[in-house]
């Protein structure tokens, strides 16, 4: 049991480190949001599972944390992405931009 838990914990730590590295290395804000959201979500999941293997009686609370993270993280990052596009425009290196027609102007379309 300890070995399984340790493996999950190390995978979690690894994905956290990769998420941080992604935030650091990616060239524009949207790619950073992608790296930050995904890698850290799986990192958090991994660590929660690892802890749940060691302490099975905590699994209810750990499940709630996982549920909240998986619900809130994508919502937060997409809100952030929209705000970034609104306020700073799209990145310069995009190869295709369908969003411009929707969010490009300063007036709200809604």
């Amino acid at each position: 049991m300890e070995i399984i838990s340790g493996v999950f914990l190390i995978i979690g730590g690894l994905f956290y480190a990769l998420g941080g590295l992604g935030i650091f290395r990616m060239p524009d804000t949207f790619d950073r949001i992608q790296a930050g959201t995904k890698a850290t979500t799986l990192g958090a999941f991994s660590i929660l599972i690892g802890v749940a293997f060691m302490f099975p009686s905590w699994s209810l609370k750990l499940f709630l944390i996982a549920l909240f993270i998986v619900l809130s993280n994508p919502i937060g990052s997409s809100a952030l992405a929209k705000a970034t596009y609104r306020s700073f425009g799209g990145p310069s290196n995009v190869e295709r931009d369908d969003l411009k027609e929707f969010l490009g102007g300063t007036k709200d379309v809604d």
């Binding site: 909240f68 619900l71 809130s72 994508p74 919502i75 997409s78 809100a79 929209k82 709200d108 809604d110």
Partner: protein, 247 residues
């Protein structure tokens, strides 16, 4: 004429206070505090079971306050009267915001529409946040937290709805009624303690076994009251800041 009256009144009051300060009648023992008798030291030295045989979760019955969280025991039991004052301070500040910003009817429309995902997802997350706030308030005597953080969580769930939904506006009347009713409940609880034990806000309920939900006497009730009161106060502050005056 009014100014002269006010001056006379202040002078008389000042003279009274100075007189009593000199006699040491108003503040008994003022200026000669004895360090070994300080309140904090006596809390540290105190023993919960009288006979030093340790405290066991789920078994120890009828402890002095019965709360697993010592900070909660101090805030909501030993120093409950001070906490009543703190809640009053918060009430006055929210009242002051209401006075300054005026009775507003229209909600300020944020310039940009919220994200679709945020708009829909907040309705589900809102329930979880509200529930956590209530949970933190109820379990103040068992877990870290208590009424004040719980109330802040309740208010933050309202803030989430305000940010995520342009049309949302909480029913302010409901909040005001809830806030007042909770304040009255706190006083009634204190008066009940006065009636039954002879001291204002003294615990008059069974302490129960340490570490279970129904333990610690009045502390959970006090913290539920504080949580709802703080939550409604901060929510009304948020509402006032996000509303504009006029029609």
């Amino acid at each position: 004429m009014k100014k002269v009256l006010a001056l006379v009144f202040v002078l008389v009051l000042g003279a009274l206070i100075m007189n009593h300060l000199n006699d040491n009648n108003l503040f008994a023992g003022f200026g000669d505090a004895m360090l070994e008798n300080r309140v904090s030291q006596s809390y540290i030295d105190r023993d919960a079971t009288e006979n030093n045989d340790g405290v066991v979760f789920d078994e120890s019955l009828d402890l002095e306050s019965g709360a697993a969280n010592t900070v909660t025991a101090i805030v909501a039991d030993y120093r409950s009267f001070d906490t009543l004052g703190e809640v009053t301070v918060l009430f006055i500040s929210s009242f002051g915001v209401a006075l300054l910003l005026g009775q507003s009817k229209k909600r300020i429309a944020l310039e940009f529409k919220p994200n679709f995902m945020l708009k829909i997802g907040s309705r589900a997350l809102f329930a979880v946040i509200l529930m956590t706030g209530v949970f933190v308030s109820i379990h103040g005597h068992l877990t870290p937290g208590g009424g004040f953080p719980g109330g802040a969580m309740i208010a933050s769930s309202m803030l989430l709805l305000y940010l995520a939904d342009d049309e949302f506006r909480a029913k302010m009347r409901g909040f005001k009624i809830l806030e007042s009713v909770m304040g009255v409940f706190y006083i009634i609880l204190g008066l009940a303690g006065l009636m039954i034990t002879g001291f204002f806000l003294e615990n008059f309920l069974d302490n129960g076994a340490l570490g279970t939900l129904f333990s610690a006497g009045m502390i959970p009730i006090v913290y539920i009251i504080i949580g709802l009161k703080v939550g409604s106060e901060i929510s009304s502050v948020i509402d006032h800041f996000l509303s504009e005056e006029g029609a």
